[in-house]
């Protein structure tokens, strides 16, 4: 995989957590009784795991084909 693309994928959580503070620092809308500030984090727990796994799987497939990551 293009290593620039890899770094962009890995950098996404930082963009949404640090630079995105103004977006998620709010109480509404609620979900399951939780303020937005909280469930936005839950959303990102999954998104971050998915993004990192994505990079892993792509690298893994390239590794099996003998392409250098």
């Amino acid at each position: 995989m293009n290593s620039i693309l890899k770094f962009i994928i890995l950098a996404l959580p930082y963009a949404f957590m640090v630079l995105g503070f103004g977006i998620y620092d709010r109480a509404t809308p609620y979900l399951g009784g939780m303020p937005f500030f909280y469930w936005y984090q839950i959303l990102w727990i999954f998104l971050a795991a998915i993004l990192t796994s994505l990079v892993y799987f792509i690298e893994d497939r390239e590794g099996k084909k003998g392409v250098k990551a």
Binding site: A11, V18, D25, Y30, G33, M34, F37, Q41, I45, T52
Partner: protein, 509 residues
């Protein structure tokens, strides 16, 4: 209140603690090493842990008294600020993914077991290796202190006399570590997590159910927070004035975690680089538990009928459990927290002791020491490290929001980032640039902490928009690195530093 615990409760508590830790004592039987004396064996468990063990080992490092006591404690005294720990958790793994496999590959090839080993060769500087190593060891001390102080809070919630609880906590950690080595914590970590999951799952399901769901918890807590202070902290979301403080605390903590010696030890104990990558992908899921436990800190405010002060915030979870559950379950849950504090404290102390043995004793004092001597010295140094952390448990911060013990350690260890993380990607930085950067960064951190009398406030003043001091230090650090590097470029002195070739980071043995 009067003591609700009876003899059976105490018996259960001590039985769970001792049995869980006893598994560590017999752990040497597990995948029996050829020789227990060898330091690689004692310190890294023989470098053959697979995905599952590493998952527990690394998870065990992160999800500790910090998770169960310190973070919910901060929520109970300061509201939504505590969520920085979740934001931090989300940001850990991409950086791990980008850095640790590279460090692993070169370490396996060249037999490194500490980041100091690596820095020494990468910059061809024994002194820089020593400096980075010692920084890690010092940073580890307040983090160990956090675990030990937490144990003593739990014991106090069980009505044991405050004077003996701290001593008991120290003794427990010291004995456990001395006897078992890394193999002990690795196996105990699995059992520890099993116990913690049972306790925590029961709590995170029952408490919100009992209190009528998350909606009333947040609504009621908001009233208590409104009554306790004018504006300022609130449970629903963070005060926008602390936006920089919140995000830099999270970012700084995430960048710092795997710079600690114990982060490196846990990773280098892996079987291969893939194991690390797989874990970097899966470990974030641990954060779900962390998030609900943090919210329980908010729930503790409701049950406590008021916001906790900084001084008693570490009691938030112990009191919540004690108030809502039968004493027998409370005893079990307390035992889980204690075991969950002993194991990581032990892992941290081992990492520090390994580092002191290899990078100070072996490097500077007795290069010809036998493996056996090294192994025994490491065991002795574990005790020294644990004793040294006592100093931090006496700082003002240890009697306030103890989460700031961890952020103090983080602020220190962050200053090693250029020499460890950045050097994994470029060979052009010289020892002078990262060394002087380190000096500048550390000076900023120590001066700031001196100004607040080590009272535990890791956020700077409004001049710096309440930025986390670790990140402020790192920015100054990086600025110095860039300036010195710029001067080297101007003088035409830039060359490939050290003896490690860049290809060694990606070639798997």
């Amino acid at each position: 209140m009067s003591n609700p615990f009876n003899d059976l409760d105490y018996a259960l508590f001590f039985a769970v603690v001792i049995i869980a830790l006893f598994v560590g004592f017999i752990a040497y039987l597990w995948r029996k090493p050829k020789t227990m004396e060898d330091i690689q064996e004692w310190g890294l468990g023989g470098r053959r842990f697979g995905t599952v063990v590493v998952w527990f080992l690394l998870g065990g490092d992160l999800y500790t008294a910090y998770t169960l006591i310190a973070v919910p404690g901060l929520a109970a005294s300061s509201g939504a600020l505590a969520m920085f720990a979740i934001t931090y958790g989300i940001m850990i793994y991409p950086i791990v993914y980008a850095t640790m496999p590279r460090l692993y590959n070169v370490s396996k090839k060249r037999g490194y077991i500490t980041s100091s080993d690596y820095v020494k060769d990468r910059f061809n500087s024994r002194f820089l290796g020593l400096l980075i190593g010692l920084t890690g060891v010092v940073a580890e001390l307040p983090y160990i202190a956090l675990q030990i102080v937490s144990i003593s809070y739990v014991l106090r919630a069980m009505f044991l006399p405050a004077t003996i609880t701290l001593i008991f906590a120290f003794a427990l950690v010291a004995i456990f570590t001395f006897v078992s080595g890394l193999r002990g914590p690795a196996l105990t970590a699995i059992l520890k997590d099993a116990i913690i999951w049972v306790a925590v799952i029961a709590i995170v399901i029952y408490i919100p159910y009992k209190l009528g769901g998350f909606q009333p918890i947040f609504a009621d807590a908001s009233k208590y927070f409104a009554a306790a202070n004018a504006g300022g902290n609130a449970p629903l979301f963070e005060s926008p004035t602390l936006g920089v403080g919140y995000t830099t605390l999270a970012l700084g903590s995430a960048l710092a975690l795997f710079l600690y010696p114990h982060g490196v030890t846990g990773t280098l104990g892996s079987k291969d680089a893939k194991t690390i990558k797989r874990n970097a992908s899966l470990l974030p899921l641990y954060n779900l538990l962390l998030l609900v436990v943090a919210i329980l800190g908010i729930a503790a405010v409701v049950v406590h009928n008021g916001v906790f002060t900084k001084a008693n915030s570490s009691f938030a979870i112990p009191y919540l459990i004690r108030d809502e559950f039968p004493t027998l379950f409370t005893s079990f849950a307390y035992a889980a927290i204690v075991v969950g504090s002993v194991v990581p404290a032990s892992i941290m102390a081992i990492a520090s002791a390994n580092l002191l043995t290899r990078n100070v004793y072996l490097e500077y004092i007795n290069p010809n020491a036998s493996s056996r001597t090294q192994s025994w010295l490491s065991r002795f140094l574990v005790l020294v490290v644990i004793a040294a952390s006592l100093a931090f448990s006496l700082l003002k911060v240890a009697s306030g929001d103890i989460v700031f013990l961890q952020t103090l350690g983080g602020a220190i260890v962050l200053q090693t980032l250029p020499s460890i993380y950045i050097s994994l990607y470029t060979r052009k930085l010289s020892k002078y640039s990262v060394g002087l950067g380190w000096l500048a960064g550390i000076s900023v951190v120590l001066y700031d902490q001196y100004l607040v009398n080590f009272s535990g406030n890791s956020l700077t003043t409004s001049t710096f928009d309440f930025m986390y001091v670790g990140i402020l230090g790192l920015l100054v650090n990086l600025l110095v690195v860039l300036v010195i590097h710029g001067i080297s470029v101007a003088l035409g002195k830039v060359k490939d530093e050290g003896i490690i070739d860049n290809s060694e980071f990606t070639i798997e043995e």
